[in-house]
């Protein structure tokens, strides 16, 4: 029986840890082969059975999806995985470090191990949004900034920039460690159009775009729809675009 992957996860130091299950001990040397799904180029690293740890940063992986194979004397097999590849809490921990490239192990829909590599920008990951008491309220955590979850308070501001316009609205926000919370009156947003929220935190360079990308739910536009509020005849509704960036839409 071919080995199957029972655990696969990329840790905070960008090391891919894999645990294999095999019915019989495997003889000889083995290589883990990562092959770019579109471009076809590959990286080969020595793999120990039943456990191996692969530092990914030295492999110079380019963004995209990389399928995993195991190569040995008996040939090459695509690695079947029984592990979803992540825990939500560990994804949050992974997002604590400052990064420009992110690695994420996952099980494909047809049951194989793969690695997703993507470019990252520091961002404000949204966890909850409310329109209540005529305010837009949002909470979440700072991702890929390098700040620690130490509970230290920092000065911050929620900025709403109207798309295609120079109009912007600003309000003070609370940041403790990597957790943030902000609330803005809806009366300041009563111009029709789309508003792009971002968070400006003292000590961090550029404002952080409010998005939701690290909770394993892609395409939030379809899956997570927020209720609308009506203020002075204007309909206000937060929504996500196809990249899972948050907007606040205002219609007459």
């Amino acid at each position: 029986m071919s080995p199957i992957v029972t655990e696969a996860e990329v840790g905070p130091t960008d090391v891919l840890a894999i645990r294999f299950a095999t019915a019989d001990p495997l003889a000889g040397d083995h290589e883990l082969v990562l092959r770019h799904r579109k471009a076809g180029h590959e990286r080969r690293v020595r793999a120990q059975i039943p456990e191996t740890a692969v530092p990914l940063t030295s492999l110079e992986l380019t963004p995209g999806l990389w399928d995993a194979y195991l190569s040995g004397a008996a040939g090459e097999i695509r690695l079947i995985s029984t592990d979803p590849g992540f825990s939500l809490d560990r994804l949050d921990s992974y997002a604590l470090s400052s990064r420009t490239l992110g690695f994420h192990a996952y099980r494909t829909m047809d049951g194989y191990l793969a690695l997703k590599v993507r470019k990252l920008l520091a961002m404000a990951e949204v966890r909850a949004v409310w329109l209540r008491e005529r305010r837009f309220e949002v909470t979440g955590l700072l991702a890929y900034t390098g700040l620690s979850d130490d509970g230290v308070r920092r000065n911050a501001r929620l900025i709403m920039q109207q798309r295609g316009s120079v109009s912007s609205v600003e309000v003070g926000a609370t940041v403790e460690g990597v957790r943030f919370h902000a609330a803005m009156s809806l009366f300041g947003l009563l111009n029709p159009g789309s508003w792009e929220p971002s968070l400006e935190v003292d000590g961090l360079g550029t404002p952080l775009r409010l998005s939701a990308r690290i909770d394993d739910v892609l395409s939030k536009r379809r899956r997570l729809q927020y209720p609308a509020a009506t203020v002075d005849g204007m309909r206000i509704q937060p929504y996500y675009d196809t990249r899972d960036d948050l907007y606040v839409g205002v219609e007459a």
Binding site: T6, I80, L88, M109, P227
Partner: protein, 371 residues
């Protein structure tokens, strides 16, 4: 031996199609197997099918489906139901198979009436006999070789209805897909539920119960997998209960096991279950199930406080269901223990085990024909 599984459609994604595909894949280890879909409305099936299993359809309902020759043009102009009936009748008169397994009562009745007697005809029943149709079933199912129910309780009802007819009655549960399946780590704060958004699935009950859960454990999320006519109403209910941050409408997926494996609990609030396929798949991923007691067939799979929790239906069952979810949410150790027992239970529904029951039945019926 050639085995054909006749389904209303092989192009959907419900439990009936999943279980038929799983059974076909297992039977293909030793037989020539085909799936015959009465209707075809997509280019390719939504769910993956074992490449050894042949798939064909009787009526192509895709708007772009071509017609060749004057007979085909005339056929395409017939009303849809008439086309289906005609195509089914034509197929059943000469099915070119040794074993015909029908996946719905209407198909079983037609198979009993029109399929040649040399073909072994087996009705695969996901529902109990409907009392209003008891007379029809009694009269027409007598022409079948066997009826296979998904649970013991259904088997008992078919057995008493068809007593003295000589039809073999068996209980064989639905089968998990062959091969390795994903296993939950049981550490994500996710409750999952899957099925069509129709009243009988009672997702409204689940959403009301989950509101109670969120009140106490706001960091837990409910992921609903499926689609259907109730979706708009359910989304409104989510807004009304201010659960929009906690309830995600995940849409349909061809890999429900992969999604269950991301969850720590699977909730089933149906008012009736027919093959309990989702329950078996959840257990197969090592995830405990919370459901209602008294659901036909479910008590044969879920043992309360062992591999899940069965909540008694009653006046305040929404609160009771929420309490059951909270009980598992708050007790990591118990939840993980139930996950292990869930895996143990799922062995009974492995494709090798279920496939062996089918092989035995088909072998018996084949031997009866030869003697």
């Amino acid at each position: 031996m050639k085995i054909s599984l006749l389904l209303p459609t092989a192009y959907g994604l419900g439990g009936g199609v999943r279980s038929a595909f799983n059974l076909a894949a297992r039977l293909a280890d030793a037989h020539e197997v085909e799936i015959v879909s009465v209707e075809r409305h997509r280019e390719v099936p939504f769910l993956p099918l074992d490449p050894r299993v042949r798939l064909r359809s009787l009526v192509d309902t895709r708007p772009e489906s071509g017609t060749a020759g004057p007979m085909s043009v005339a056929f395409a102009r017939l009303p849809r139901l008439m086309r289906t009936d005609l195509a089914l009748w034509r197929y059943l008169r000469t099915p070119r198979t040794d074993v015909l397994i029908t996946g719905r009562p209407s198909l079983s009745i037609l198979a009993a009436r029109h399929a040649p007697r040399r073909v072994i005809r087996i009705a695969r029943e996901h529902t109990p006999p409907v009392p209003e149709r008891a007379g029809v079933i009694k009269r027409l199912y007598a022409g079948l070789d066997a009826v296979v129910a998904v649970s013991e309780v259904d088997r008992g009802e078919y057995a008493s209805l068809l007593a003295g007819t000589g039809v073999r009655i068996r209980a064989i549960g639905n089968s998990l897909a062959p091969g390795n399946r994903p296993r939950s780590r049981m550490d994500n704060r996710i409750v999952a539920a899957a099925g069509r958004f129709v009243p009988s699935k009672s997702y409204d009950r689940l959403i009301h119960s989950f509101a109670i859960v969120v009140d106490k454990r706001p960091d837990w999320r409910l992921r609903l997998y499926g689609s259907g006519p109730e979706e708009k109403r359910l989304r409104s209910l989510v807004y009304d209960r201010e659960l929009h941050n906690n309830v995600y409408f995940m849409g349909t997926t061809a890999d429900i096991e992969g999604e269950f494996a991301k969850a720590s609990v699977v909730a089933v609030t149906s008012r009736r279950e027919s093959g309990a396929m989702s329950i078996i798949e959840a257990l197969g991923c090592g995830v405990p199930v919370v459901s209602f007691a008294g659901l036909r067939g479910v008590e044969e799979i879920v043992e309360s406080e062992w591999n899940g929790i069965l909540v008694p239906e009653g006046e305040d069952d929404g609160q009771a269901f929420a309490n059951a979810l909270l009980g598992l949410i708050d007790d990591d150790e118990q939840r993980k223990k139930m996950g292990v027992y869930a895996l143990e239970t799922s062995v009974r529904y492995g494709s090798q085990v279920i496939g062996a029951f089918w092989e035995e039945l088909i072998g018996e019926l084949g031997a009866g024909r030869r003697s």
